[in-house]
């Protein structure tokens, strides 16, 4: 068959396709709707309904104060302190993790040495642990029978402990935040354009100036986004906090307490919504600043 004889038939089928798409456009839309149905049902059943119920429930009167639970959070010291503590510790953990792991991640990305693969594997290993195991590890380090207590008992005759305080929580959160930052920073450093550093150096910039003017701006989006994810994870981390003790006043434990111990559903719902909104705001802010791909949409 020659090209000349092929062409008319090709053209004809093209026109047929054209005309076919104009007529039953409505039918097409109907099929699309039907195909989307399962997703819509799941979205309504598991997201829209429970979440709107949660929001409404939070607005109901709190059992102890008698006013809306949202207002109670803002007016009662106990809840306000818990809110500030949770946001505060999450912030400090995120910043510390980014600072420590940012440097380490950059070093790992730029240097080749014997056993590097093994070291990276060990460093990222904590990602495999659930929060409860991380809490357990912190207790083994800084608990009543922990390594620190044993050492200080032997040296000074008294048990030093930090596991059951905010310090223990800080260590635990840091422990599972660092691997995330290291892996993200390593990936970001691999994508850095090395000729930018070379250009800066050719213009006389020393190591510190290159770091400040080229490397940090270059990986800033990655630092911001990974920091935001650390923040979000720390805000909602429950297992670690629960293992370390219920004396800690942080939001996830408050929600659990209001819900199970006092059956105060309104307060539990309001705290959940506040926790969710703050976390979502952090993620979306970081996403906007970094222009990257994160969990929350703007």
């Amino acid at each position: 068959m020659t090209a000349a004889s092929k062409q008319p038939s090709g053209a004809a089928s093209y026109f047929r396709r054209q005309s076919a798409s104009v007529g039953p456009a409505r039918r097409k839309r109907l099929i699309a709707l039907l195909a989307l149905m399962p997703a819509l049902v799941i979205f309504c059943a598991f997201w829209l309904l429970p979440f709107s119920r949660l929001i409404v429930m939070g607005a109901e009167a709190d059992r102890s104060s008698g006013i809306s639970a949202y207002l109670t959070i803002l007016t009662h010291r106990q809840y306000l302190i818990s809110l500030v503590t949770t946001v505060g510790i999450s912030l400090v953990v995120s910043i510390t993790a980014v600072a420590i792991a940012g440097v380490a991640g950059f070093f790992l990305a730029r240097h080749r040495f014997f056993g590097k693969a093994a070291l990276v594997a060990i460093l990222t290993f904590p990602l495999a642990f659930p929060g409860v195991v991380v809490g357990f590890l912190v207790i083994m380090l800084g608990g009543r029978q922990g390594a620190l207590a044993q050492t200080s008992l032997w040296l000074f005759g008294e048990r030093w402990m930090f596991a059951y305080s905010l310090a223990g929580l800080f260590i635990g959160y840091l422990y599972f935040s660092i691997p995330r930052v290291i892996t993200t920073v390593m990936a970001a450093c691999d994508n850095l354009d090395k000729s930018l550093e070379e250009a800066a150096r050719s213009l006389g910039a020393n190591t510190w100036q290159v770091t400040k003017d080229v490397i940090v701006p270059g990986i800033a989006p990655a630092l911001l986004s990974t920091g935001a994810i650390c923040f979000a994870t720390s805000m909602g981390a429950f297992g670690t906090a629960f293992t370390l003790g219920t004396r800690l006043s942080i939001l996830p434990l408050n929600i659990y307490g209001e819900f199970t111990n006092y059956a105060n559903f309104a307060m539990a719902a309001a705290l959940s919504v506040v926790l969710g909104v703050i976390t979502w705001m952090a993620l979306s802010l970081a996403r906007r600043l970094a222009g990257g791909n994160l969990g929350a949409s703007v």
Binding site: D193, S195, L196, E198, A199, A200, R201, S202, L203, G204, A205, N206, Q209, D213, V214, P217, G218
Partner: protein, 360 residues
């Protein structure tokens, strides 16, 4: 603008981890104020040579880099006072055009007035007035490379280094920027080393060209020397097109018998082949022809056309012909070659000694 220095490389070799030798021991001297082009295919060692000059790479033990009289072998790039222009521009994306250009000046902690003065001066030189506040990603490729150029010359470096600066641009822009860089280099009088794989760029910009092949300099010379007296078949082939005519026999009067006819070339006795450029072969009536053949293909190039002529040799001859004449395939064609245009890398040419510059 700045006092220029010469560059001397002595026994600079470079072996990478894994025993991969990128550069054989190399001696190279770049005169003060001169533009030297390092030309060659990828992997020939031209970029490694440039990086050794810049200080981004160190030569293997025993190698030495001198700027003028000063030994800079141990100095890192930031202490060498070089300006560098990269293929991918390497502009700082978080800074404006003006901040990019002024970066080196700020590093040097020059007074504000001096920075403003120099910024103004170099933006005028690269024709970027009014672009100072722009973001880098709002510039075209050509504008980006001008910014990179301005940034490199703003610090008034002793040596300017170019790493294939035009390779990422389209043909028209490449030609224009090439001319501008040439003017700028003449204006500045700074010693420059320019890496490229583009022979036109090399010819247009280089005071001298070093053609490199597998980690060695195959030939070092002026563009004319490299083109008209290539040191070996590789250089001849890499720079422009070249015809190779096998010598089948020699006549008693010294004429060389080649496929399709014979040539007079008394300076090329005892060679097994002779070389010539396509534009040096003249088309003449068949009755006056030294060599006869048949046109097997004509390629229209606009200004000229390239004819492939079968003379019975291993490969057809390439001939440059005026573009308006028609040469249907199979047409008989008569060719003539003056002795002057024939060369062989191992033999002196009619006009001079080919060996004198060769194998640098």
């Amino acid at each position: 603008m700045s006092s220029s220095v010469s560059i001397t490389l002595t026994q600079c070799s470079r072996t990478f981890a894994g025993g991969n030798t990128a550069l054989q021991p190399l001696d190279l001297h770049v005169n003060a104020g001169e533009t030297l082009v390092l030309l060659g295919p990828s992997g020939c060692g031209k970029t490694t040579t440039l990086r050794i000059i810049s200080g981004l790479e160190s030569p293997d033990k025993g190698g030495q880099v001198l700027f003028g009289e000063r030994d800079v072998t141990a100095l890192p790039i930031e202490k060498r006072d070089v300006g560098m222009v990269f293929q991918n521009y390497a502009l700082f994306p978080n800074m404006s055009v003006a901040d990019n250009i002024a970066y080196g000046l700020k590093i040097q902690r020059l007074p504000k007035a001096e920075i403003a003065h120099r910024l103004d001066e170099v933006t005028r030189m690269v024709d970027l007035q009014g672009f100072g506040g722009r973001r880098i990603d709002a510039l075209s490729g050509g504008q980006k490379q001008r910014v990179a150029l301005a940034r490199a010359i703003a610090v008034r470096p002793k040596v300017l280094l170019f790493d294939e600066p035009l390779a990422a641009l389209d043909a028209k822009l490449r030609d224009r920027l090439r001319i501008e860089i040439g003017q700028l280099l003449r204006e500045l009088g700074t010693t420059a080393v320019y890496v490229t794989h583009d022979q036109d760029e090399a010819m247009a910009l280089g005071d001298r060209i070093a053609v490199m092949q597998s980690g060695r300099i195959a030939q070092l010379g002026t563009p004319q020397e490299i083109y008209h007296r290539p040191a070996n078949a590789f250089v001849a082939d890499f720079i422009g097109a070249v015809n190779c005519l096998e010598v089948i026999g020699t006549r008693a009067d010294g004429g060389l018998i080649v496929p399709g006819g014979e040539l007079v070339a008394t300076h090329l006795q005892g060679v097994s082949s002779v070389y010539c450029r396509p534009e040096d072969i003249q088309i003449v009536p068949l009755s006056q022809a030294d060599i006869k053949g048949k046109v097997v293909q004509s390629i229209f190039l606009g200004q000229t056309q390239r004819l492939l002529v079968d003379t019975g040799g291993a490969s057809p001859l390439q001939i440059e012909a005026p573009s308006r004449q028609r040469w249907p395939n199979g047409t008989g064609i008569g060719l003539t070659l003056t002795p002057r245009v024939l060369f062989h890398p191992d033999k002196p040419t009619v006009t001079g000694n080919a060996k004198e510059q060769a194998y640098g």
